[in-house]
Structures are given as C-alpha cells and as structure tokens.
C-alpha cells in the first residue's frame, strides 16, 4: 500500500477506535486459457484491496474496499473513499461481537519461502507453449479428447499493520497449471483432469499431462459394480474430493466451540483408525497457502489435528481462540482475500502409511477405486456425511482394475468409515496445491449402481 495512505488510514482509525488493523492485499496475475484444444485468450488481473478492522467500545467493526483510490465520477473519490471505509467500520462495530483478543504485537516470523522469481518472470509465450505441449501430449494418447487448459502465473503482496505495533509484509508468487479433458462417445462422457499448483516453478510441468494420460488408461473399458457394501480405494484426489470437506469442518475451532462439530468434547479420544493422522501446516515452503503469518499477523505453525487416530487439536483464529481460552493456531484467514477473518486450513496433510497402491488393488475381490466425485459437498457435511456420484472411478475385479464405472454413487460418514481398519498408501501427492495425501483404502462403504 502506498505508505502515506496506510498510515493515514491507521491514524484516522486509531482516533475512533481502541484497536485497529489494516490488511492490504494487491495482486497481479496473467492467465492463458485454452478452450477445446485451442488458445482462446489471455487475461490480466490487477487488484488492490484493503480491509480495516477496528475494536471500538470493545466491539469488532469491519469494512473492506477494492479499488480504494478509485470511484466513478458520482462516487466519493479517493480521499472520501478512505473516510467511507472508516465510517462503515464504525457503523458495523455498533452491532459487532465483543472482541476477545488483542491484535498481536511485532514478533519474529518463521522463514517460509513462497516467492520464486522464475514464476514471476515467466513469459506469456512460454505459458502458451506449455499449454500447447500439455494438450498435444494428451491428444497423442486420445486424439478425440477435448481439453481445456489454464496456465496462470502471478504475484501478490500482503501487508498487515496494527495498532499494537505489528508490521509484516511478504510477497508471494504462484503458478497454477490445470488441465480438464472430456472424451465423448455418443451420449457417454468421460471426464479426466488434474492440476499442478505451486509458488515455484515445478521441475516437471508435464506431470499434469502424465497423470491425465494415466487416468485415460485406467478408464479404458467400462464396468459395473454391484450395489451394496464394497471395499473402496480412494486415490489422493478421491480422498481430497470425498473426505476432506467434512474433515476440515469438524476440526474448525469455531464449529467445535459452537457444538456443530461432532468432535466437540472429544479431544484426546480415539475417533479414527490408528493408521490415520492429519495435520494442517502453513509453514511448508512453496505451498499455495503457506505464509510466515496468517491474515491476522499471527505467526504460522504446524497444527496437528489427528495423531494415530486420536483427536489432538483444532484450528483457531484470534477471536475463536479468545472465546475458548486457548492460543490462536495462526489459522485466521480472510474469506475471498479481504473478507472476514475466520479459522481456515492452509495445507491439510495426511502422512503416508506403508501400503503401495498396487497391493491395495490386488487385495480386492470386487471393489471400487474413487478418483473424483461430484456432488460431494451437498450432504450433511457437519454430521460427517460424504458421498456423491463417481465422476471418475474404476472397478476392481480379482485384484485388477478392469475399467471405469458410470451411474455409481457412494455414501458414507467419516466417523464410521475412518473408524474401520484402514490401509494408508505409501506415496502421497499434492492435490490442487492445498492438500497432500496418500491413497486410503477402507474395507466397506455403501455403493449404489444403476
């Protein structure tokens, strides 16, 4: 933020409030988009956002602005815009929650690497070339496939200043390579896709195409599974799409405090199979959601959630931690960039176990491999339910994958399914840049097929 404006905003806010915090986020990103195997367009997004939080008469007030200096000719203008921001924060503070925290003072932040010049400087021409290569690679395997590819690179800057003296800023770079393909034969459609997401230039950018080709190979041939309980193997992408939604809700300190999480009051209890562990980690280098501190300026750390099946922690922001009487875990994140602070995960990590993928497959007489679900976030997530239509999944028969399934649904509840004796895969991978997990095999899950 242009320094005089940040200072001006902080000075004015302090005159009307006991505590104040200015959060500034600016970003610049460029994306090349391929539609139906062809380059469609190039996009550039520049944005500048500011969020103001005040504690006034012990209550929290909040306002935010995009384009804080700009306004249409009918609008309040740059000066007026900042004043309006303060007025709005003051107005909302009259109805705000009583604050249960102090903004953190200046502290030492851990070194977390999230910037790579090679990403920041990647030429648009190379991004276009990469997109063309990925598509060519996939079409070499399946000439009829229709691919959409998006390669996005960008940088962002965060600056946090508060009335308790904290001042922190960091720059981030990011590169997101996504490939989605659809193969249509008559009214039958096969969907494949994967993505690579990182703050730094990956060693092998072709990995996305390799993974998609692997999906296409496994999906050759069609098969039908029986309706009823079956053993199910979730690939890392399957774990992320089916299980981690209800998981992230259950360990959210706010859900626990409110009692909407079934894990309330169960800290230290064996809730899951002992093969299962989980943690949230914002300190891993070059991960999309890593950073030296969270969006409230609290230093980042690793937050263990499940250790050998035992619930060992929840994640908190300042306010929720204050209400519970614990320390913030550095998990205060702003919804949509400069929205309200709430507890949220950074990178969810499930540590590897010892069972290779192929032995999981070999051990099944009849079973289902789940790679992607749709509709997984529609059930009663709070209660731990998961399920949906298997968008991409394979049937296993006598220890071999024999083809993909269609018109197949799975349904289960994490508190029942992850209690069973599980097998945890020996290799973990990143999914969408926000989860790192291995395969999970569970002995029995409800499957409905048409």
């Amino acid at each position: 933020m242009e320094q005089p404006l940040a200072e001006q905003l902080m000075d004015s806010a302090r005159k009307v409030a006991e505590q104040a915090e200015v959060f500034w986020l600016s970003s610049h990103e460029t994306a090349v988009q391929f539609e139906a195997n062809r380059l469609k367009g190039v996009h550039t997004r520049e944005s500048a956002n500011v969020a103001l939080r005040v504690v006034r008469e012990a209550r929290i007030g909040f306002s935010a602005a995009s384009g804080p200096y700009s306004s249409l000719p009918s609008g309040p203008g740059a000066e007026g815009g900042l004043r309006r921001l303060i007025d709005m924060a003051v107005e909302t503070s009259r109805f705000g929650k009583p604050a249960r925290f102090q903004f953190p003072p200046l502290t030492d932040y851990p070194g977390v690497a999230v910037f790579d010049h090679r990403v920041a400087r990647m030429p648009v021409e190379s991004m276009i070339e990469l997109g063309n290569e990925l598509i060519a690679r996939v079409r070499e395997h399946s000439p009829d496939i229709v691919c959409d590819v998006e390669v996005t690179r960008g940088t962002s800057s965060v600056q946090i200043v508060n009335s308790q003296g904290a001042e922190v800023d960091y720059d981030r770079s990011f590169l997101v390579i996504g490939l989605e393909g659809v193969l249509i034969r008559d009214t039958d459609m096969l969907f494949v896709g994967d993505s690579l997401d990182s703050c730094r230039l990956p060693d092998n950018m072709g990995l996305v195409a390799d993974r998609v080709v692997e999906q296409l190979e496994l999906a050759e041939g069609k098969a039908t599974v029986s309706t009823g309980p079956l053993p199910v193997l979730f690939t890392p992408r399957g774990v992320a799409s089916a299980l981690l939604g209800p998981m992230a809700l259950a360990f959210n300190g706010k859900m626990v405090l409110e009692g909407s999480s079934p894990l309330k009051g169960r800290l230290g209890e064996q809730v899951f199979d002992s093969a299962f562990s989980l943690c949230d980690d914002a300190t891993l280098d070059y991960c999309l959601r890593s950073s030296p501190c969270d969006d409230e300026g609290v230093r980042s750390r690793q937050v263990p959630l499940v250790r050998n099946g035992v619930v060992c922690g929840f994640f908190y922001d300042l306010q929720t931690a204050g209400l519970v009487g614990v320390q913030s875990t550095g998990s205060g994140r702003r919804a949509g960039g400069t929205g309200q602070i709430r507890p949220a995960t950074s990178s969810l990590v499930i540590p590897e176990g010892g069972v290779p993928f192929h032995s999981m497959v070999e051990d099944m007489n009849e079973g289902l491999v789940v790679e992607r679900l749709i509709g997984a976030d529609q059930g009663n997530l709070l209660g731990g339910d998961f399920g949906g239509n298997v968008l991409l999944g394979y049937k296993v028969q006598n220890g071999e994958i024999i083809g993909r399934v269609k018109d197949t649904m799975i349904a289960g509840n994490i508190y029942q399914v992850l209690r069973q004796s599980l097998a945890v895969g020996s290799e973990a991978r990143w999914v969408d840049g926000v989860t790192r997990c291995p395969c999970l095999w569970c002995p029995s899950l409800s499957v409905s097929a048409k």
């Binding site: 935010a64 384009g67 909302t92 008559d186």
Partner: protein, 452 residues
C-alpha cells in the same frame, strides 16, 4: 464518463473492444450460534477492458481507473498473442441506454437496525424450536452501478441491486446433527424477506424432525420433485447444457444437443427468460450490450434453442439471445442463464401423487452439481410415497442420473409453477451470479437415489 470511455476505446488495431466500469456497495450480516456474528460492509470500484483480434480475446481488469487507453492497448496486445483465424462477432447495434432502480425498493439504502430487527426475529424463532442447537443466517444486499461501452458506439448504464437470505436451522441430539434451510432472494427489494415467520418456524421444525427420520435405501425410485428442486434440476441438469459455450466447440456434445432432437414428452417445455419483470435473473441489457430475451429451450419435448453470447451465436449461426453475463468487473462475460423454468403442464399434485404406488417426494435443495450429462443434487426434505399417499419423513437424499435419460423419464408436469429466487449460479470461477429458477411439480420414473 461517456467521453472518457469512448476515447479509451478509440484508435486500437482490434476487431472489437469493450469496457466495463462498476461501483458497488455490499452489506453482509451473519448470525451464528444464536447471535449476530459478523456484519461487514464492502465498497468496490474497478473496471475491465476486453479486446478481440482474429478470434483471440485479451482481457485486463483493474482497480485504478486512470490510463484507460493503455489498459485497452494491453488487452489488444494479449488478444493478438491469442489470435488465430478471423472471427466476426454477431453484428451489434450501437445502444445508448440506462436503467435506474427506484431507491426505495433497494435494501442497500435501509439502515442496519432495520435489517437486524427482521433477522433477530427469525433467529429467535429458530432457536426457540425444540432440539435446535444452532441457527445460521446469511444475509447479503448489494447495490451496483455498471457502465458498459464498446467500440461500436454503445454506452449503457444499469443499476443491478441484489439481495439474498439463507437461513439454516441445525438440530442436534446425542451425536446426531441434522439441518434444514431456507433460501430466498430478490432484486434488492427488502420486503421479499419480511413476514416469513411461519416458514422459518416450519424449517426449524423440519431440522428437529430429521433427527428421528430414517434413511432411505439407495436404488431406483419414482420421484416427485417440488417446484424448488425441479427448478434446480431445470437449471443445473439441463440449463447448463443449453449454454452454447459448452457446446459450440465440442463436436460430441453438439451431436447430442442438435436442435430438433426430442428430449422428452409433449408436456415438457423449458424456457430461459431475462425479461420477466422483478426477478433476480432479469436485466435489460447483458454485459455485451445486447438486449435481454425470452428463449425457448425445449418446446413440447423438442430442443428448439440455446443461450448465446455474440461470439457463440456467430460460431453456431444462430440468433443471439443476450445471455453474456459477468459477476463483476473482475471477470469477462460468459454465457449464463437468467430466469430458467419448466412451464406449467396440467396435472395437479394430487393426481401426480395418486399414480405412485411406491416412491419418494423430494423437496428443497442443499445444492446441485453437474458435469455436462451427469447431475447430482440434494433434496433437503424427502418423504416416502406409499399407495398414492405421502408417508414418513426421510433423511435428506441425493438424486443422480444422466440428464437425457431423466428428461425422457419425466412422465408428468404439474400446474403449479413457482419461481425460486434463492442462491446463485457458479460457472467458470464466477459465483454467485443472480439467477432464478422454477417449475411446477414434476414426476420422474426410474431416478437413482444414493443411500446406505
């Protein structure tokens, strides 16, 4: 401003250039755990320029409104990088117009106290219901002024107020948690969410009742969908396939979505209509400056139309329909629905019910998702139907299927069309876009229901 924009769009070596500028103010109020949890207000101002050069698009969005000509030049430069074969757009006429919403109808101009009073009442009703442990309320209103200009000489100013309310009642007993919700919206009119006390009470009662409801067995059933869920079906399962950008460069899908192909019985009519006064998905001009239309998608079971932007209309040689929309200046316009609904048939709900020996009556929705032909959506409320009568309440169910098979399996269409204004639509990373959808009750044979 008109002059400034005209200057910024002038003198570029491009087939077409357009600009959007926008200013908005949003208020969000959120209740959780029995109390007002968050209230926040947001101001936003920015714009974008989009350029077309030989079929390639360049797009630049920004929040500093100065140097507009340079931003247009960058968009043209990007378009050139992406350019290929020449592609004309459907000819557009230069339109100069404006629409202003009367201030009094706009919730954004009401004081926070007034909004809070109404929400407090609903909050109290939910929490006063037995076995309810938590209430969640999400309220959002916005006023938005959007300016559009293009290199063909159009200049349009439009007001686009919007309002949504989502109420969720969460019941808990032992380790069981169940929830029920109510979703509403309007084009900014606050009275649309006033006086809902009875409906809020019913929603809370439902969440509590779900705690003791049994689960359905997964499998195939005859199902009757209420207007809300049938509207979601019309939008999610079929409507998205009518968006020409999904279809036009995909030969496989194009073969399926051929105009003139029969998808259902003569009782099946599906329409997208942005010109219905007062609905959330209505507008005068879309974000490419094209006038809004009423578009028949399915007429008497036969596919007769689809939704277009200027680009897709020219590529498919069909008439433009004015369906290019963007959620804000941060995104380029893409083909979107407006108000999508199944038109009335002539069967009463009772008649429909009496034709089902064993089936399900499914109502309301948690959400829906599609991947072209496959859809899944969740009903928030479900009942067994036995011998033509409604029987016991069930836990929420998930419906799934192939849309083409399912459209063909609709064997009855009711006479009680209702529009649902809650929620919003997501596509291509742009969410939520104000839309509405609706339907009368419909009956579907052989529908796959997930369950344990």
């Amino acid at each position: 401003m008109r002059e400034r924009l005209a200057n910024a769009l002038r003198g570029h070596d491009a087939d077409y250039v357009e600009a959007h500028l926008e200013e908005s103010e949003t208020t969000q109020i959120r209740y959780q755990n029995g109390t007002l949890e968050e209230v926040h207000r947001t101001r936003s101002c920015g714009g974008n320029v989009r350029a077309l050069v030989n079929g390639g698009w360049g797009f630049v969005s920004f929040e500093h409104l100065d140097d507009l000509w340079d931003k247009a030049a960058l968009a043209v430069e990007e378009a050139r990088l992406a350019s290929g074969e020449a592609m004309p757009l459907v000819p557009g006429e230069a339109v100069v117009g404006s629409s202003a919403e009367p201030e009094r109808r706009n919730a954004a101009s009401l004081p926070l106290e007034r909004k809070k009073r109404v929400l407090d009442e609903y909050n109290d009703i939910i929490l006063g219901t037995g076995r309810i442990q938590n209430a969640r309320i999400d309220y959002r209103d916005a006023k938005r002024r959007a300016i559009f200009a293009n290199s063909e000489g159009s200049y349009i100013e439009q007001d686009r107020p919007d309002l949504t309310l989502r109420l969720t009642a969460i019941a808990r007993e032992n380790n069981e948690v169940q929830q029920a919700g109510l979703s509403l919206g309007s084009n900014g009119d606050f009275s649309a969410i006033e006086g809902l006390h009875e409906r809020v009470r019913e929603t809370a009662g439902l969440a509590a009742a779900l705690l003791s409801a049994p689960e359905v067995r997964g499998g195939e059933y005859t199902v009757i969908l209420d207007p809300v869920l049938a509207g979601v079906f019309a939008h999610e399962a079929f409507g998205h396939l009518s968006e020409a950008d999904f279809v036009y460069q995909n030969q496989g899908l194009l073969d399926i979505m051929t105009l003139g192909r029969t998808f259902g019985g003569r009782h099946l009519n599906i329409v997208d209509d942005a010109t219905v006064p007062g609905l959330r998905g209505s507008y005068q001009y879309d974000d490419e400056g094209m006038p809004a239309c009423r578009t028949c998608l399915i007429r008497e079971g036969v596919l007769v139309g689809r939704l277009h932007s200027r680009e897709t209309a020219v590529k498919m040689g069909e008439k433009p329909t004015g369906n290019a929309r963007a959620i804000s200046y941060r995104f380029p316009p893409i083909v979107r629905m407006s108000n999508t609904f199944i038109e009335n048939g002539d069967m009463s709900f009772e008649e429909m019910l009496s034709g089902v020996r064993k089936g399900l009556y499914v109502k309301d929705w948690y959400g829906g998702q599609t991947s072209l032909e496959m859809f899944t959506f969740s009903a928030g409320e479900a009942y067994m139907i036995r011998d033509g009568r409604l029987a016991e309440l069930l836990r929420p169910v998930v419906l799934t299927g192939n849309v083409f098979v399912t459209l063909n399996n609709i064997d009855a269409v009711g006479d009680d069309l209702e529009m649902n204004q809650g929620g919003g639509c997501g596509k291509g990373g742009q969410s939520p876009l104000p839309v509405s959808n609706g339907s009368p009750h419909i009956r579907i044979r052989h529908c796959l229901i997930g369950g344990r």
